[in-house]
Subunit: 343 residues, 2 copies
Amino acid sequence: MVQREGRAERRVATLSDVAQRAGVSLATASKALNGRSEVAPATRQRVIAAAEEISFTPNQLARSLVENRTRTVGLLTSDLEGRFVLPILIGAEDAFGAGRVDVFLCDARGDAVRERHHLNALLERRVDGIIVVGRQTDPRPSLGHELPVPVVYVYAPSDDPSDLSLTPDNRAGGRLSVEHLIACGRSRIAYISGDRSYVAARDRVEGALGALDDAGLELVGEVMYSEWSEHWGRDAAAMLLTKHPEIDGIVCGSDQIARGAIDTLRDLRRAVPDDVVVIGFDNWEILATNSRPALTTIDANMQELGRTAAQRIFEAIDGEVTEQGIHYQPVRLVIRGSTIERR
Amino acid sequence: MVQREGRAERRVATLSDVAQRAGVSLATASKALNGRSEVAPATRQRVIAAAEEISFTPNQLARSLVENRTRTVGLLTSDLEGRFVLPILIGAEDAFGAGRVDVFLCDARGDAVRERHHLNALLERRVDGIIVVGRQTDPRPSLGHELPVPVVYVYAPSDDPSDLSLTPDNRAGGRLSVEHLIACGRSRIAYISGDRSYVAARDRVEGALGALDDAGLELVGEVMYSEWSEHWGRDAAAMLLTKHPEIDGIVCGSDQIARGAIDTLRDLRRAVPDDVVVIGFDNWEILATNSRPALTTIDANMQELGRTAAQRIFEAIDGEVTEQGIHYQPVRLVIRGSTIERR
DNA sequence: CTGTTAGCGCATTCAC
DNA sequence: GTGAATGCGCTAACAG
């Protein structure tokens, strides 16, 4: 920073500088540095040395301009908290290869105007593809098909079936939860869900009820819907245990709810997992690992989602036929102390 | 995506296309679209219309190449969780103006090699500036002064005093905590800190002890150091109350610790805030708002930090004299139910 | 193997 | 007011 005073920037080295210094032509310098084969080893060495001496940093802008690709993708999100977007970003970076591809992260903050703005900015910067990340699994408006770059929707699927969307398989998650509780020897299972207006809430419930049905079991009481909060988890668990003291397992729609439920069980002196087992959803580490006992939960594999999204973007860039529709990605059971006694 | 099959991309409109369609020269089209004054109003209208008709999207790459600035900044982080980096990103976007400037987010994952990689990628993409975000307030290695762009370090300051660093004023935060407890009428105050190896832990303690001293009070017991976890908060609180049942206020080094402490107080049937008040640090919403009662805490104003960082980057770009050293930014007390009875 | 030439899309002189 | 020409830094034909 120090040397930038008064706009008197020292001009940054250019490929011509390298060529001149190595005593070759611009084209040769380019080939040498880009590892093209049509260059004599000795020449290449000279060029590389020259480049290093003046710490040449290739200008990707110029390169992108002529190659007509930027090795850059846009991540357009409305997930303020970053609970989903960050694992997805990491997965995408992984798939792209760190440093080879960079990611523009734009937060639309749930505002359609701002989203339009950012989308435009991304297009002006000629990103090679766009990953759209929502914060719920409810369908979101498509960006449309007029875009000159491939788009993949992650977590929140597009409402247009001809777009490609990747979203966690909440039904399978719900099913997995119940199957795990049954495997733990439970049969009097209740369900505390979140906000019924969320597709995620309903899907998870659906999966759970299906698994119960398959096992010839019935849910204890009704599915309890309200909000995605610890408070609701506490209140719901209290109501539940008053009305159905016989329950031995609680499936929760989220980790927050599960934490609340565990809290209440503790207050009521019901042992977890001996007396009642509890399972959450999301594997939100900060919540799941700090509860007493730690929370068994379902992980949506967001990082994997990001990786897959990146691959799909790549395929589309490379001109492969692009897939369509909503793809439900596998989720994963993470077992902790709330369903199995640790030793 | 649909129309991209087989690499047969419909060529995206260029400025020449616009010019041709409007029946003017390329130069005139450029001037018209960029709001330069040397253009007849009627001509400008025609050009703008033409641009819209073919949905012209200016190529920022080309523009950046000639203007020698990209309106892009890099955000280089090692904060996996995004607890700090996201508010900072939002603040920066705010200051830059959404869409005008875009942000490359790179996650080095605490790995120096990967950081070097990403740094290089950012420089090749000719970002106008770089914001480096660490995940602790301990000093981190400087990126050096050889960089052709301004750099601002946020949260984790640079170990080089001639760099510009912005970090929250943890001392002031510690002081604020104690002053608030005293204002709540407490005088038998204990301190549960986190990991002593963190500068943040020590700074917060220092501020707290200073405030106690100024008030003529003494800490009850010793400052308790261990780890930044809810478990430690629970354990420490239990020890504390056994040894010093008279305490009426607990200052915690983080919200996690505070939640643990509140948990224990609840188990021990000590009322919060009536009997004992508790204050945390970080204002980590998910933790602070879901505890019973909700947590009074210190907010480090990360968003504000991001905004300031962006401004400093701007100033440096515009050639203003760049500041140096570590700047401690004000923090903010957020009062909730753990120190004051809600009605 | 190496060098010359021609753009990539745009902003900017400087004539007209 | 407008347009022809120049160049930003680089890659990709081509010709030697």
